[in-house]
């Protein structure tokens, strides 16, 4: 009898366990956050999993942004194997909306009663395609200037929070140190060869990167990256490289960052998301300050960069609900605060900067406020909404090649015009291919 009872008790316990297991919904989450950023992402996932029993998020690092979107496209092509939630870079916004495979976040938010007005304007504008918010602006960044203040003091250059491109050029010259043979000991400026900086100088100067007001009024059909701001920026950089004032460290951000961290470049431009890493690299070598990204003419405002989380269609109702629960968790001010402080990405919903832990951290390390201040003082218009177009990954390659051509001596206008003809072809082909289906 005793034996029997024990068996029954065991069976009941097993059944209960199985029941609990059956109720728990598991969702797949693919992300592209490596290093410091990856640790912070995993921490959030674990916290979410611990905070409740209904949903378990299985996260997977799928390589770089480029790898991530390609894995998604391959899965879509195969018609299976894609995750519930995927992180895709900023410039994938048009592509994901065109895929028809994504559940617009706006539809879900309305259904679940989440007020979209809680989003800050720029992140929301950026991921709004054809009037609808598609992705959750999870990790949002913008470009900022990094200053080596020891070099500034030595050269007698005063700190300012906002810089025109002209003033920046002058400062870079003053900050450059050369030896008797004219070899550069310390560069004034170092910016990695990345199309993103050309895009941002356009937006911040009130110019568009692609037509139809950055593809916000209608689908973009041609690029406009041969605008005055982009031309001025590339010509300036090439000129400074020739003078030995700016460094050419190629396309790899890490190669520029090591230069800056070792004190061999006085000014640099990176993302806000680089802040935690750069601060670590610099250590106590010199005091570091950050400032707004430069502009030509009048400062308009930068667009956001980074990536968004998308929910994919084709899953049972319960799983989509579970995925939404995860998204909802990420939008909590508390979660946003943790994410912001661990990475340097800024919060995308209101009411985060007022939290005590964020305020204290900002007092300790005021550099974390630069990105937020830059965002809040940016004009919210179609220029600062950022360019929305298909074929963006391909087009970025052409912009970078044009930048490299200017370093070879080609005038920026000419290099950008040549790149434009290739980019326009790519865009036209993309538009034709998605319209055909």
């Amino acid at each position: 009898m005793q034996q029997f009872r024990r068996t029954v008790a065991g069976l009941v316990a097993l059944a209960l366990l199985a029941g609990a297991q059956a109720q728990q919904v598991t969702i797949e989450f693919w992300h592209s956050m490596g290093g410091v950023l990856g640790e912070a992402t995993e921490a959030l996932v674990q916290e979410f999993n611990k905070s409740q029993r209904e949903v378990r998020v299985k996260s997977q690092y799928v390589g770089s942004y480029d790898d991530g979107i390609n894995k998604l496209l391959a899965a879509l092509r195969a018609g299976r194997g894609y995750p519930h939630v995927i992180q895709v870079y900023d410039i994938g916004a048009r592509i994901l909306a065109d895929s028809g495979a994504v559940l617009p976040l706006e539809d879900l938010a309305r259904k679940e009663g989440f007020d979209l007005g809680r989003f800050l304007a720029q992140p929301r504008n950026y991921y709004t395609v054809d009037g609808k918010l598609y992705g959750l602006p999870f990790n949002s960044s913008n470009p900022i200037l990094y200053f080596n203040m020891a070099a500034f003091e030595e050269a007698g250059v005063a700190f300012r929070p906002s810089w025109s491109l002209k003033d920046l050029e002058e400062a870079a010259r003053k900050l450059t140190k050369k030896d008797a043979q004219g070899r550069t000991l310390r560069y004034g400026l170092s910016i990695p060869i990345d199309s993103w900086f050309v895009e941002q100088i356009s937006y911040n100067s009130g110019e568009y990167f692609c037509n139809n007001e950055n593809g916000r009024k209608a689908r973009a059909t041609a690029v406009t990256f041969d605008n005055e701001a982009a031309v001025a920026f590339l010509d300036m950089y090439a000129r400074l490289v020739r003078e030995g004032v700016a460094a050419n460290t190629g396309r790899t951000w890490a190669d520029s960052q090591s230069l800056f961290a070792q004190g061999q470049a006085a000014i640099a431009a990176y993302s806000t998301a680089s802040l935690t890493g750069v601060l670590r690299q610099v250590g106590n070598r010199f005091p570091l300050r950050t400032a707004f990204y430069p502009y030509v003419g009048q400062r308009n405002g930068v667009a956001i960069g980074g990536a968004a989380l998308y929910l994919l269609k084709g899953f049972p109702e319960a799983e989509t609900k579970a995925a939404w629960a995860f998204i909802r968790f990420l939008l909590e001010p508390k979660t946003q605060a943790k994410w912001h402080l661990a990475t340097g990405y800024f919060p995308v919903v209101q009411g985060v900067t007022e939290l005590p832990e964020v305020r204290q951290a900002h007092v300790r390390q005021p550099n974390y406020t630069t990105a937020i201040q830059q965002l809040l003082t940016s004009k919210a218009n179609t220029a600062s909404a950022g360019c929305l177009m298909g074929a963006f990954p391909e087009i970025r390659q052409y912009v970078q090649a044009a930048w490299e051509e200017t370093l070879r001596g080609k005038p920026a206008r000419e290099a950008l015009r040549e790149a434009k003809s290739r980019a326009d072809q790519a865009l036209e082909r993309y538009n034709r291919s998605v319209a055909q289906r």
């Binding site: 496209l73 990954p393 090649a401």
Partner: protein, 289 residues
């Protein structure tokens, strides 16, 4: 008959894997290259040879073919020469030879990714060791990987360096196969080391040298990892070799069928070179018999 069946049973797993991972993907790529579809794989339709026509009509494609040729023409001879020097140093036993053999082979044992990252540091445009050495000698720093003129040759040298161990092993085997008597006879006839090398060793080694050269050429046509990690086809597309163009078209430009056509064209070139190699190998076997 029974033995044949038995042998087949043992070979089947290997054949199965070969079919699954080699033949099928090649077939799939060929199939894909004959179709047209959008980037999400929708609306796939028969395109015949249109993708091949487009690939061959693009000036970018021919630029990539030219760069690949240039890359191979620097890599292959350099790797062969370095491998030959290394093999000559270690093919005869002497105290400590194992240490040198290991050292030479080490470059091949290092994974491409690790080697590429190390070279990246070594050649950093400002703080890299290479440029600091130049600085100490009073020479200006070189933009090893950041100038369109230097990037491809630099990558070729790195590739040759990474392959030295491989060529050294093949050539060591070749050198060890040269009959000792012939060399002795030459010595008796009064030939010095220089004459022996040019008149005896090199001619007798030439079949091995030629085959190794073909292998090295094949490898250099498909070099990808170091290019991906160090220059990504840049600066200004100066290192956009054939295989990197395929990668770019497939995974950045999302034009998978076009990329499949370009990949298949490369496959045909590699196949022709491999065929040449087999043909030569066959001829050599006949000599020996």
């Amino acid at each position: 008959m029974r033995a044949g069946l038995e042998a087949l049973a043992f070979l089947l797993p290997a054949y199965g894997l070969f079919l699954l991972f080699m033949i099928l993907p090649v077939g799939e790529a060929l199939w894909l290259s004959l179709h047209q579809e959008d980037l999400f794989g929708r609306g796939r339709e028969w395109a015949g040879l249109a993708n091949y026509g487009e690939a061959l009509a693009r000036p970018e494609f021919w630029k990539s073919v030219g760069l690949t040729l240039k890359f191979a023409l620097i890599t292959a001879p350099l790797e062969l020469l370095l491998g030959l020097v290394a093999a000559l140093l270690v093919y005869r036993p002497y105290p400590g030879v194992a240490l040198f053999r290991t050292l030479f082979f080490l470059t091949t044992a290092v994974p491409t990714a690790v080697a590429a990252v190390a070279w990246g540091w070594f050649l950093h445009p400002v703080g890299g060791y290479a440029n600091r050495v130049l600085g100490a000698l009073g020479l200006p720093p070189m933009p090893w990987l950041t100038s369109p003129e230097l990037a491809l040759p630099t990558l070729a040298v790195i590739t040759a360096w990474a392959g030295v161990g491989f060529t050294a092993i093949l050539l060591t085997a070749g050198l060890q196969n040269i009959p000792e008597e012939v060399l002795e006879a030459a010595t008796v006839d009064g030939a010095g080391p220089w004459t022996r090398f040019w008149r005896i060793t090199l001619p007798l080694l030439s079949p091995t040298l030629f085959l190794t050269g073909l292998l090295v050429l094949l490898k250099s046509l498909t070099a990808f990892g170091q290019i991906h990690l160090l220059t990504r086809g840049g600066p200004a597309e100066s290192s956009m070799v054939w295989i990197y163009r395929v990668y770019q078209d497939a995974f950045f430009n999302f034009r998978v069928p076009l990329a499949a056509a370009e990949a298949f064209l490369l496959f045909l070139v590699l196949l022709a070179l491999a065929g040449l190699q087999f043909w030569l190998l066959g001829r050599r076997v006949h000599y020996a018999a």
